[in-house]
Protein backbone atom coordinates (compact mmCIF):
# COMPACT_ATOMS: atom_id res chain seq x y z
CA UNK A 1 0.00 0.00 0.00
CA UNK A 2 2.72 2.42 0.98
CA UNK A 3 4.65 2.43 -2.20
CA UNK A 4 1.87 3.40 -4.64
CA UNK A 5 0.57 6.15 -2.34
CA UNK A 6 3.98 7.70 -1.85
CA UNK A 7 4.82 7.47 -5.50
CA UNK A 8 1.54 8.98 -6.61
CA UNK A 9 2.02 11.88 -4.23
CA UNK A 10 5.47 12.36 -5.72
CA UNK A 11 4.02 12.22 -9.23
CA UNK A 12 1.43 14.85 -8.38
CA UNK A 13 4.11 17.00 -6.82
CA UNK A 14 6.35 16.64 -9.83
CA UNK A 15 3.70 17.78 -12.26
CA UNK A 16 2.72 20.67 -9.98
CA UNK A 17 6.31 21.82 -10.02
CA UNK A 18 6.39 21.56 -13.80
CA UNK A 19 3.22 23.61 -14.06
CA UNK A 20 4.52 26.29 -11.71
CA UNK A 21 7.81 26.54 -13.57
CA UNK A 22 5.95 26.77 -16.86
CA UNK A 23 3.73 29.50 -15.50
CA UNK A 24 6.77 31.39 -14.21
CA UNK A 25 8.59 31.17 -17.52
CA UNK A 26 5.55 32.11 -19.57
CA UNK A 27 4.63 34.97 -17.26
CA UNK A 28 8.15 36.36 -17.43
CA UNK A 29 8.38 35.91 -21.17
CA UNK A 30 4.99 37.40 -21.99
CA UNK A 31 5.51 40.31 -19.61
CA UNK A 32 1.97 40.06 -18.29
CA UNK A 33 1.46 42.58 -15.49
CA UNK A 34 1.86 41.05 -12.02
CA UNK A 35 -1.32 42.82 -10.96
CA UNK A 36 -3.18 40.65 -13.45
CA UNK A 37 -1.24 37.42 -12.97
CA UNK A 38 1.56 37.31 -10.42
CA UNK A 39 4.69 35.22 -10.72
CA UNK A 40 4.40 31.88 -8.96
CA UNK A 41 7.74 32.51 -7.31
CA UNK A 42 6.28 35.60 -5.69
CA UNK A 43 3.26 33.60 -4.62
CA UNK A 44 5.40 30.91 -3.06
CA UNK A 45 7.56 33.46 -1.27
CA UNK A 46 4.38 35.04 0.07
CA UNK A 47 3.09 31.68 1.29
CA UNK A 48 6.44 30.87 2.88
CA UNK A 49 6.62 34.18 4.68
CA UNK A 50 3.12 34.05 6.14
CA UNK A 51 2.33 30.40 6.27
CA UNK A 52 0.90 30.49 9.78
CA UNK A 53 -1.62 33.11 8.86
CA UNK A 54 -2.60 31.29 5.69
CA UNK A 55 -2.84 28.04 7.57
CA UNK A 56 -5.36 29.53 9.96
CA UNK A 57 -7.61 30.70 7.15
CA UNK A 58 -7.13 27.49 5.22
CA UNK A 59 -8.11 25.52 8.30
CA UNK A 60 -11.32 27.49 8.72
CA UNK A 61 -12.30 27.03 5.08
CA UNK A 62 -11.47 23.34 5.25
CA UNK A 63 -13.67 22.88 8.29
CA UNK A 64 -16.58 24.65 6.63
CA UNK A 65 -16.04 22.61 3.51
CA UNK A 66 -15.95 19.34 5.39
CA UNK A 67 -19.10 20.18 7.31
CA UNK A 68 -20.96 21.13 4.13
CA UNK A 69 -19.59 18.09 2.35
CA UNK A 70 -20.56 15.71 5.14
CA UNK A 71 -24.08 17.10 5.12
CA UNK A 72 -24.24 16.80 1.35
CA UNK A 73 -23.19 13.16 1.46
CA UNK A 74 -25.79 12.27 4.06
CA UNK A 75 -28.47 14.43 2.46
CA UNK A 76 -27.58 13.42 -1.09
CA UNK A 77 -27.65 9.72 -0.35
CA UNK A 78 -30.96 10.12 1.49
CA UNK A 79 -32.56 12.15 -1.27
CA UNK A 80 -31.10 9.95 -3.99
CA UNK A 81 -32.41 6.89 -2.21
CA UNK A 82 -35.84 8.42 -1.74
CA UNK A 83 -36.03 9.32 -5.41
CA UNK A 84 -34.78 5.88 -6.45
CA UNK A 85 -37.20 4.03 -4.20
CA UNK A 86 -40.37 6.00 -4.63
CA UNK A 87 -42.02 6.69 -7.92
CA UNK A 88 -43.89 9.53 -6.29
CA UNK A 89 -40.68 11.12 -5.05
CA UNK A 90 -39.19 10.79 -8.49
CA UNK A 91 -42.11 12.43 -10.21
CA UNK A 92 -43.03 15.14 -7.77
CA UNK A 93 -40.01 15.95 -5.63
CA UNK A 94 -37.11 15.33 -7.97
CA UNK A 95 -38.06 17.94 -10.58
CA UNK A 96 -38.05 20.52 -7.80
CA UNK A 97 -34.62 19.39 -6.70
CA UNK A 98 -33.35 19.69 -10.26
CA UNK A 99 -34.94 23.11 -10.67
CA UNK A 100 -33.63 24.44 -7.37
CA UNK A 101 -30.17 23.16 -8.20
CA UNK A 102 -30.14 25.32 -11.30
CA UNK A 103 -30.51 28.48 -9.24
CA UNK A 104 -27.00 29.85 -8.87
CA UNK A 105 -26.14 29.96 -5.17
CA UNK A 106 -23.88 32.93 -5.83
CA UNK A 107 -26.97 34.97 -6.59
CA UNK A 108 -28.89 34.01 -3.47
CA UNK A 109 -25.98 33.90 -1.05
CA UNK A 110 -26.99 37.16 0.69
CA UNK A 111 -30.31 35.56 1.61
CA UNK A 112 -28.43 32.94 3.58
CA UNK A 113 -26.68 35.59 5.61
CA UNK A 114 -30.03 37.20 6.31
CA UNK A 115 -31.54 33.91 7.40
CA UNK A 116 -28.59 32.35 9.18
CA UNK A 117 -26.42 35.17 10.37
CA UNK A 118 -22.74 35.66 9.91
CA UNK A 119 -21.37 32.54 11.55
CA UNK A 120 -20.29 29.34 9.85
CA UNK A 121 -23.89 28.24 9.22
CA UNK A 122 -24.58 30.09 5.96
CA UNK A 123 -21.24 28.96 4.53
CA UNK A 124 -21.95 25.37 5.44
CA UNK A 125 -25.42 25.69 3.99
CA UNK A 126 -24.12 27.04 0.70
CA UNK A 127 -21.42 24.38 0.53
CA UNK A 128 -24.08 21.78 1.19
CA UNK A 129 -26.45 23.10 -1.44
CA UNK A 130 -23.80 23.35 -4.13
CA UNK A 131 -22.42 19.88 -3.43
CA UNK A 132 -25.51 17.84 -2.74
CA UNK A 133 -26.78 17.52 -6.31
CA UNK A 134 -23.74 15.63 -7.53
CA UNK A 135 -24.27 13.13 -4.73
CA UNK A 136 -27.98 12.84 -5.48
CA UNK A 137 -27.43 12.15 -9.17
CA UNK A 138 -24.66 9.65 -8.64
CA UNK A 139 -26.51 7.93 -5.81
CA UNK A 140 -29.46 7.59 -8.12
CA UNK A 141 -27.26 6.27 -10.89
CA UNK A 142 -25.52 3.89 -8.50
CA UNK A 143 -28.74 2.55 -7.03
CA UNK A 144 -30.14 2.01 -10.50
CA UNK A 145 -27.09 0.12 -11.63
CA UNK A 146 -27.15 -2.45 -8.85
CA UNK A 147 -27.44 -5.71 -10.82
CA UNK A 148 -30.99 -6.91 -11.08
CA UNK A 149 -30.10 -10.46 -10.09
CA UNK A 150 -28.67 -9.27 -6.79
CA UNK A 151 -31.80 -7.24 -6.12
CA UNK A 152 -33.83 -10.33 -6.94
CA UNK A 153 -31.94 -12.27 -4.30
CA UNK A 154 -32.82 -9.61 -1.75
CA UNK A 155 -36.45 -9.61 -2.81
CA UNK A 156 -36.81 -13.37 -2.58
CA UNK A 157 -35.14 -13.39 0.83
CA UNK A 158 -37.65 -10.74 1.90
CA UNK A 159 -35.06 -8.53 3.55
CA UNK A 160 -36.52 -5.53 5.31
CA UNK A 161 -36.13 -2.38 3.23
CA UNK A 162 -33.55 -0.97 5.62
CA UNK A 163 -31.52 -4.18 5.66
CA UNK A 164 -31.68 -4.41 1.87
CA UNK A 165 -30.53 -0.83 1.66
CA UNK A 166 -27.54 -1.33 3.92
CA UNK A 167 -26.48 -4.74 2.73
CA UNK A 168 -27.35 -4.64 -0.96
CA UNK A 169 -28.27 -1.31 -2.45
CA UNK A 170 -25.80 0.92 -0.72
CA UNK A 171 -22.71 -1.27 -1.27
CA UNK A 172 -23.81 -1.78 -4.85
CA UNK A 173 -24.15 1.96 -5.35
CA UNK A 174 -20.99 2.79 -3.42
CA UNK A 175 -18.62 3.06 -6.38
CA UNK A 176 -20.98 5.53 -8.05
CA UNK A 177 -21.53 7.44 -4.84
CA UNK A 178 -17.76 7.66 -4.47
CA UNK A 179 -17.58 9.23 -7.92
CA UNK A 180 -20.26 11.69 -6.88
CA UNK A 181 -18.32 12.48 -3.72
CA UNK A 182 -15.22 13.31 -5.73
CA UNK A 183 -17.18 15.88 -7.68
CA UNK A 184 -19.01 17.09 -4.61
CA UNK A 185 -15.99 17.70 -2.44
CA UNK A 186 -14.56 20.36 -4.70
CA UNK A 187 -18.00 21.87 -5.16
CA UNK A 188 -18.30 22.08 -1.38
CA UNK A 189 -14.99 23.90 -1.32
CA UNK A 190 -16.26 26.38 -3.87
CA UNK A 191 -19.47 26.73 -1.87
CA UNK A 192 -17.57 27.54 1.28
CA UNK A 193 -15.64 30.21 -0.59
CA UNK A 194 -18.81 31.71 -2.05
CA UNK A 195 -20.24 31.85 1.45
CA UNK A 196 -17.13 33.56 2.74
CA UNK A 197 -17.30 36.08 -0.06
CA UNK A 198 -20.63 37.37 1.17
CA UNK A 199 -19.84 37.65 4.81
CA UNK A 200 -16.87 36.52 6.73
CA UNK A 201 -13.88 37.64 8.69
CA UNK A 202 -12.04 34.36 8.22
CA UNK A 203 -11.26 31.78 5.64
CA UNK A 204 -9.59 31.83 2.25
CA UNK A 205 -12.67 33.36 0.66
CA UNK A 206 -12.26 36.29 2.99
CA UNK A 207 -8.58 36.47 2.17
CA UNK A 208 -9.35 36.58 -1.55
CA UNK A 209 -12.03 39.23 -1.08
CA UNK A 210 -9.95 41.57 0.98
CA UNK A 211 -6.87 41.10 -1.15
CA UNK A 212 -8.91 41.92 -4.25
CA UNK A 213 -9.96 45.16 -2.57
CA UNK A 214 -6.35 46.20 -2.24
CA UNK A 215 -5.31 44.82 -5.64
CA UNK A 216 -3.05 42.41 -3.78
CA UNK A 217 -2.94 39.85 -6.57
CA UNK A 218 -0.12 37.89 -4.99
CA UNK A 219 -2.25 37.24 -1.98
CA UNK A 220 -5.24 36.32 -4.12
CA UNK A 221 -3.19 33.73 -5.92
CA UNK A 222 -1.60 32.47 -2.74
CA UNK A 223 -5.10 31.74 -1.49
CA UNK A 224 -6.07 30.17 -4.81
CA UNK A 225 -2.99 27.96 -4.72
CA UNK A 226 -3.91 26.83 -1.23
CA UNK A 227 -7.42 26.07 -2.42
CA UNK A 228 -6.02 23.94 -5.20
CA UNK A 229 -3.91 22.11 -2.66
CA UNK A 230 -6.82 21.59 -0.28
CA UNK A 231 -8.95 20.33 -3.14
CA UNK A 232 -6.24 17.89 -4.11
CA UNK A 233 -5.82 16.64 -0.57
CA UNK A 234 -9.54 16.19 -0.05
CA UNK A 235 -9.76 14.33 -3.34
CA UNK A 236 -6.83 12.15 -2.36
CA UNK A 237 -8.45 11.37 0.96
CA UNK A 238 -11.59 10.31 -0.86
CA UNK A 239 -9.68 8.02 -3.20
CA UNK A 240 -8.00 6.49 -0.19
CA UNK A 241 -11.30 6.09 1.64
CA UNK A 242 -12.89 4.58 -1.44
CA UNK A 243 -10.19 1.94 -1.63
CA UNK A 244 -10.57 1.18 2.04
CA UNK A 245 -14.36 0.94 1.76
CA UNK A 246 -14.51 -1.18 -1.40
CA UNK A 247 -11.94 -3.90 -0.73
CA UNK A 248 -13.78 -6.23 -3.06
CA UNK A 249 -12.78 -4.28 -6.12
CA UNK A 250 -9.50 -5.16 -7.74
CA UNK A 251 -6.87 -2.64 -6.72
CA UNK A 252 -5.78 -1.80 -10.22
CA UNK A 253 -9.31 -0.84 -11.11
CA UNK A 254 -9.05 2.36 -9.08
Amino acid sequence: MKHPVVSSILAGLASSVVLLVLWEVLARASGVRPIVLPLPSAVLVELGAEWRWYLGHAGYTTMTTLAGFALSVVGGVLIGTAVASSRRCERFVYPLVVALNSVPKVAVAPLFVIWMGTGAEPKIAIAFLIAVFAIIVDTLHGLRSVPQDVLDVARVLKGRPLAVFWKVRLPGALPSIAAGMKVAVSLALVGAIVGEFVSSQRGLGYVIMSAQGTFDTVRVFAALLLLALIGLLLYGALVWAERALTPWRANDKH
Binding site: P147, D149, V150, D152, V153, A154, R155, V156, L157, K158, G159, R160, A163, V164, K167, V168, P171, G172, L174, T246, P247, W248, R249, A250
Partner: protein
Protein backbone atom coordinates in the same frame (compact mmCIF):
# COMPACT_ATOMS: atom_id res chain seq x y z
CA UNK B 1 -41.93 -24.14 8.93
CA UNK B 2 -44.06 -26.42 6.76
CA UNK B 3 -42.92 -27.14 3.22
CA UNK B 4 -44.95 -25.17 0.66
CA UNK B 5 -46.91 -26.64 -2.21
CA UNK B 6 -46.90 -24.99 -5.62
CA UNK B 7 -49.90 -24.98 -7.89
CA UNK B 8 -49.97 -23.62 -11.44
CA UNK B 9 -53.10 -23.51 -13.57
CA UNK B 10 -53.06 -22.23 -17.11
CA UNK B 11 -50.10 -20.01 -16.44
CA UNK B 12 -49.16 -17.81 -19.36
CA UNK B 13 -46.25 -15.43 -19.29
CA UNK B 14 -45.56 -12.80 -21.88
CA UNK B 15 -42.63 -10.48 -21.37
CA UNK B 16 -43.57 -6.84 -21.72
CA UNK B 17 -42.65 -4.68 -24.66
CA UNK B 18 -43.69 -4.62 -28.31
CA UNK B 19 -41.54 -7.66 -29.16
CA UNK B 20 -42.17 -9.29 -25.77
CA UNK B 21 -41.62 -13.01 -26.01
CA UNK B 22 -44.32 -15.35 -24.87
CA UNK B 23 -42.34 -17.61 -22.59
CA UNK B 24 -45.03 -19.78 -21.00
CA UNK B 25 -48.38 -20.91 -22.32
CA UNK B 26 -50.89 -22.86 -20.30
CA UNK B 27 -48.57 -24.31 -17.73
CA UNK B 28 -50.37 -26.69 -15.39
CA UNK B 29 -48.42 -28.20 -12.54
CA UNK B 30 -49.16 -29.44 -9.07
CA UNK B 31 -46.15 -29.70 -6.85
CA UNK B 32 -47.14 -31.17 -3.53
CA UNK B 33 -45.65 -29.98 -0.27
CA UNK B 34 -42.42 -31.81 0.49
CA UNK B 35 -42.00 -33.10 -3.05
CA UNK B 36 -38.81 -32.98 -5.06
CA UNK B 37 -39.73 -32.07 -8.63
CA UNK B 38 -37.23 -31.91 -11.46
CA UNK B 39 -37.89 -29.82 -14.54
CA UNK B 40 -36.36 -30.64 -17.90
CA UNK B 41 -36.80 -28.78 -21.13
CA UNK B 42 -35.05 -27.31 -24.12
CA UNK B 43 -33.03 -24.16 -23.74
CA UNK B 44 -35.17 -21.05 -23.93
CA UNK B 45 -38.45 -22.86 -23.22
CA UNK B 46 -39.29 -20.87 -20.11
CA UNK B 47 -37.92 -22.90 -17.18
CA UNK B 48 -36.18 -19.95 -15.58
CA UNK B 49 -39.23 -17.85 -16.26
CA UNK B 50 -41.45 -20.28 -14.40
CA UNK B 51 -39.07 -20.35 -11.46
CA UNK B 52 -39.02 -16.57 -11.36
CA UNK B 53 -42.80 -16.51 -11.46
CA UNK B 54 -43.01 -18.94 -8.55
CA UNK B 55 -40.48 -16.82 -6.67
CA UNK B 56 -42.73 -13.80 -7.21
CA UNK B 57 -40.12 -12.00 -9.28
CA UNK B 58 -42.22 -11.88 -12.41
CA UNK B 59 -45.93 -11.33 -12.78
CA UNK B 60 -47.81 -13.94 -14.74
CA UNK B 61 -49.91 -12.76 -17.65
CA UNK B 62 -52.72 -15.24 -17.25
CA UNK B 63 -53.77 -18.19 -15.13
CA UNK B 64 -53.34 -18.83 -11.44
CA UNK B 65 -50.21 -19.59 -9.51
CA UNK B 66 -50.26 -20.34 -5.80
CA UNK B 67 -47.54 -21.14 -3.32
CA UNK B 68 -48.62 -22.69 -0.04
CA UNK B 69 -52.20 -22.11 -1.11
CA UNK B 70 -51.79 -18.38 -1.61
CA UNK B 71 -51.78 -16.61 -4.95
CA UNK B 72 -48.32 -15.38 -5.75
CA UNK B 73 -48.07 -11.63 -5.57
CA UNK B 74 -44.51 -10.76 -4.79
CA UNK B 75 -42.08 -13.26 -3.25
CA UNK B 76 -43.78 -15.76 -0.94
CA UNK B 77 -42.34 -16.45 2.49
CA UNK B 78 -39.66 -19.05 2.98
CA UNK B 79 -38.21 -19.35 -0.48
CA UNK B 80 -34.59 -20.24 -1.17
CA UNK B 81 -33.34 -19.82 -4.70
CA UNK B 82 -30.30 -20.66 -6.78
CA UNK B 83 -30.32 -18.54 -9.91
CA UNK B 84 -28.97 -19.79 -13.19
CA UNK B 85 -26.15 -17.29 -12.85
CA UNK B 86 -24.79 -17.19 -9.33
CA UNK B 87 -26.03 -13.70 -8.29
CA UNK B 88 -23.51 -13.45 -5.50
CA UNK B 89 -22.90 -10.06 -3.95
CA UNK B 90 -19.52 -8.87 -5.21
CA UNK B 91 -18.92 -6.87 -2.05
CA UNK B 92 -19.34 -9.71 0.41
CA UNK B 93 -16.96 -12.49 1.17
CA UNK B 94 -18.18 -15.97 0.37
CA UNK B 95 -19.05 -16.57 4.02
CA UNK B 96 -21.01 -13.34 4.23
CA UNK B 97 -22.77 -14.15 1.00
CA UNK B 98 -23.87 -17.46 2.44
CA UNK B 99 -25.03 -15.76 5.63
CA UNK B 100 -27.22 -13.27 3.77
CA UNK B 101 -30.49 -15.22 4.23
CA UNK B 102 -29.77 -15.50 7.95
CA UNK B 103 -29.21 -11.78 8.24
CA UNK B 104 -32.30 -10.95 6.23
CA UNK B 105 -34.39 -13.31 8.34
CA UNK B 106 -33.21 -11.37 11.38
CA UNK B 107 -31.66 -14.46 12.91
CA UNK B 108 -28.45 -14.55 14.92
CA UNK B 109 -25.50 -15.02 12.62
CA UNK B 110 -23.48 -16.60 15.40
CA UNK B 111 -25.94 -19.51 15.57
CA UNK B 112 -25.10 -20.46 12.02
CA UNK B 113 -21.32 -20.50 12.14
CA UNK B 114 -21.14 -24.27 12.32
CA UNK B 115 -23.74 -24.72 9.61
CA UNK B 116 -21.88 -22.43 7.25
CA UNK B 117 -18.63 -24.23 7.93
CA UNK B 118 -20.32 -27.50 7.17
CA UNK B 119 -21.78 -26.22 3.91
CA UNK B 120 -18.42 -24.75 2.88
CA UNK B 121 -16.72 -28.06 3.55
CA UNK B 122 -19.41 -29.98 1.76
CA UNK B 123 -18.94 -27.86 -1.35
CA UNK B 124 -15.16 -27.81 -1.10
CA UNK B 125 -15.02 -24.08 -0.44
CA UNK B 126 -13.60 -24.24 3.08
CA UNK B 127 -10.44 -22.43 1.98
CA UNK B 128 -12.36 -19.65 0.30
CA UNK B 129 -14.67 -18.49 3.08
CA UNK B 130 -12.98 -15.10 3.20
CA UNK B 131 -12.46 -14.70 -0.55
CA UNK B 132 -14.56 -12.40 -2.64
CA UNK B 133 -16.64 -13.87 -5.49
CA UNK B 134 -14.33 -12.48 -8.16
CA UNK B 135 -11.53 -14.65 -6.80
CA UNK B 136 -13.47 -17.84 -7.43
CA UNK B 137 -13.83 -20.02 -10.49
CA UNK B 138 -17.19 -20.28 -12.22
CA UNK B 139 -18.04 -23.59 -10.57
CA UNK B 140 -16.96 -22.38 -7.18
CA UNK B 141 -19.26 -19.38 -7.39
CA UNK B 142 -22.12 -21.64 -8.26
CA UNK B 143 -21.37 -23.81 -5.25
CA UNK B 144 -21.33 -20.74 -3.03
CA UNK B 145 -24.74 -19.76 -4.36
CA UNK B 146 -26.00 -23.25 -3.50
CA UNK B 147 -24.74 -22.90 0.05
CA UNK B 148 -26.59 -19.61 0.32
CA UNK B 149 -29.83 -21.18 -0.80
CA UNK B 150 -29.46 -24.08 1.65
CA UNK B 151 -28.30 -22.29 4.75
CA UNK B 152 -31.71 -21.36 6.11
CA UNK B 153 -33.53 -24.59 5.17
CA UNK B 154 -36.23 -22.87 3.15
CA UNK B 155 -39.63 -24.59 2.95
CA UNK B 156 -39.54 -24.03 -0.80
CA UNK B 157 -36.25 -24.43 -2.62
CA UNK B 158 -36.02 -23.27 -6.24
CA UNK B 159 -32.89 -24.31 -8.09
CA UNK B 160 -32.14 -23.21 -11.64
CA UNK B 161 -29.44 -25.49 -13.07
CA UNK B 162 -27.47 -25.33 -9.87
CA UNK B 163 -24.89 -27.85 -10.98
CA UNK B 164 -24.44 -26.66 -14.56
CA UNK B 165 -20.90 -25.44 -14.08
CA UNK B 166 -19.65 -28.45 -12.13
CA UNK B 167 -17.54 -31.30 -13.35
CA UNK B 168 -19.08 -34.74 -13.44
CA UNK B 169 -17.64 -35.85 -10.14
CA UNK B 170 -18.34 -32.76 -8.12
CA UNK B 171 -21.77 -32.93 -9.63
CA UNK B 172 -22.28 -36.47 -8.46
CA UNK B 173 -21.22 -35.49 -4.97
CA UNK B 174 -23.57 -32.56 -4.98
CA UNK B 175 -26.40 -34.79 -6.18
CA UNK B 176 -25.81 -37.17 -3.31
CA UNK B 177 -25.54 -34.33 -0.84
CA UNK B 178 -28.66 -32.60 -2.02
CA UNK B 179 -30.63 -35.82 -1.68
CA UNK B 180 -29.30 -36.32 1.85
CA UNK B 181 -30.18 -32.78 2.89
CA UNK B 182 -33.59 -33.01 1.33
CA UNK B 183 -34.34 -36.24 3.11
CA UNK B 184 -33.54 -34.52 6.38
CA UNK B 185 -35.55 -31.38 5.74
CA UNK B 186 -38.26 -32.70 3.42
CA UNK B 187 -38.89 -29.29 1.99
CA UNK B 188 -40.39 -28.71 -1.43
CA UNK B 189 -37.80 -28.52 -4.20
CA UNK B 190 -38.26 -27.34 -7.77
CA UNK B 191 -35.12 -28.31 -9.58
CA UNK B 192 -34.39 -27.18 -13.13
CA UNK B 193 -31.66 -29.15 -14.84
CA UNK B 194 -30.36 -30.16 -18.21
CA UNK B 195 -29.17 -33.51 -16.99
CA UNK B 196 -31.78 -36.15 -17.63
CA UNK B 197 -30.05 -38.61 -15.31
CA UNK B 198 -29.77 -35.97 -12.64
CA UNK B 199 -33.45 -35.12 -12.95
CA UNK B 200 -34.40 -38.75 -12.50
CA UNK B 201 -31.89 -39.42 -9.75
CA UNK B 202 -33.13 -36.55 -7.61
CA UNK B 203 -36.77 -36.16 -8.47
CA UNK B 204 -39.92 -37.66 -7.07
CA UNK B 205 -41.26 -36.61 -10.40
CA UNK B 206 -39.87 -35.09 -13.58
CA UNK B 207 -41.74 -32.47 -15.58
CA UNK B 208 -40.65 -32.20 -19.18
CA UNK B 209 -41.33 -28.88 -20.85
CA UNK B 210 -42.17 -28.30 -24.48
CA UNK B 211 -40.19 -25.81 -26.54
CA UNK B 212 -41.15 -22.13 -26.19
CA UNK B 213 -43.83 -21.19 -25.34
CA UNK B 214 -43.22 -23.66 -22.55
CA UNK B 215 -45.84 -25.90 -21.00
CA UNK B 216 -45.64 -29.21 -19.22
CA UNK B 217 -45.43 -31.70 -22.08
CA UNK B 218 -45.12 -34.74 -19.85
CA UNK B 219 -44.95 -35.67 -16.22
CA UNK B 220 -42.98 -38.72 -15.05
CA UNK B 221 -43.30 -40.05 -11.54
CA UNK B 222 -40.01 -41.60 -10.49
CA UNK B 223 -40.75 -44.56 -8.33
CA UNK B 224 -37.35 -45.41 -6.94
CA UNK B 225 -36.84 -46.03 -3.23
CA UNK B 226 -34.87 -43.51 -1.17
CA UNK B 227 -32.15 -43.00 -0.23
CA UNK B 228 -31.00 -43.65 -3.76
CA UNK B 229 -27.33 -44.56 -4.03
CA UNK B 230 -25.44 -43.08 -6.96
CA UNK B 231 -25.22 -46.62 -8.24
CA UNK B 232 -28.97 -46.59 -8.79
CA UNK B 233 -28.11 -44.95 -12.08
CA UNK B 234 -26.78 -48.24 -13.34
CA UNK B 235 -30.03 -50.09 -12.62
CA UNK B 236 -32.31 -51.05 -15.51
CA UNK B 237 -35.28 -49.26 -13.93
CA UNK B 238 -33.34 -46.03 -13.88
CA UNK B 239 -32.20 -46.58 -17.43
CA UNK B 240 -35.79 -47.05 -18.43
CA UNK B 241 -36.84 -43.69 -17.01
CA UNK B 242 -33.94 -41.97 -18.72
CA UNK B 243 -34.62 -43.72 -21.99
CA UNK B 244 -38.28 -42.79 -21.89
CA UNK B 245 -37.53 -39.13 -21.33
CA UNK B 246 -34.87 -39.19 -23.99
CA UNK B 247 -37.36 -40.59 -26.42
CA UNK B 248 -39.87 -37.93 -25.55
CA UNK B 249 -37.24 -35.29 -26.18
CA UNK B 250 -36.57 -36.86 -29.52
CA UNK B 251 -40.28 -36.77 -30.36
CA UNK B 252 -40.30 -33.06 -29.66
CA UNK B 253 -38.33 -33.08 -32.87
CA UNK B 254 -35.24 -31.18 -32.12
CA UNK B 255 -32.41 -33.37 -33.17
CA UNK B 256 -31.13 -34.65 -36.44
CA UNK B 257 -27.70 -35.79 -37.32
CA UNK B 258 -26.80 -32.73 -39.38
CA UNK B 259 -27.36 -30.78 -36.21
CA UNK B 260 -29.53 -28.08 -37.68
CA UNK B 261 -32.36 -27.35 -35.32
CA UNK B 262 -35.78 -27.73 -36.81
CA UNK B 263 -37.78 -26.15 -34.05
Amino acid sequence: MQPSSVLAKGVRKQYPGPRGVQALQGVDAEIGAGRFVSILGPSGCGKSTLLRCIAGLEDISEGTLTVGGRAVDGPPDGVGIVFQHHALLDWRSIRDNILLPIEFAGKRVADYTAKVEHLLRMTGLQDFADSYPRELSGGMRQRAAICRALVDDPPLLLMDEPFGALDALTRDQMNAELQRIWMETRNTVVFVTHGIAEAVFLGDEVLVFSPRPGRVAHRFVVDLPRPRPLAVRETPQFGQYVGEIRRLFGQMGLLDETGVATA
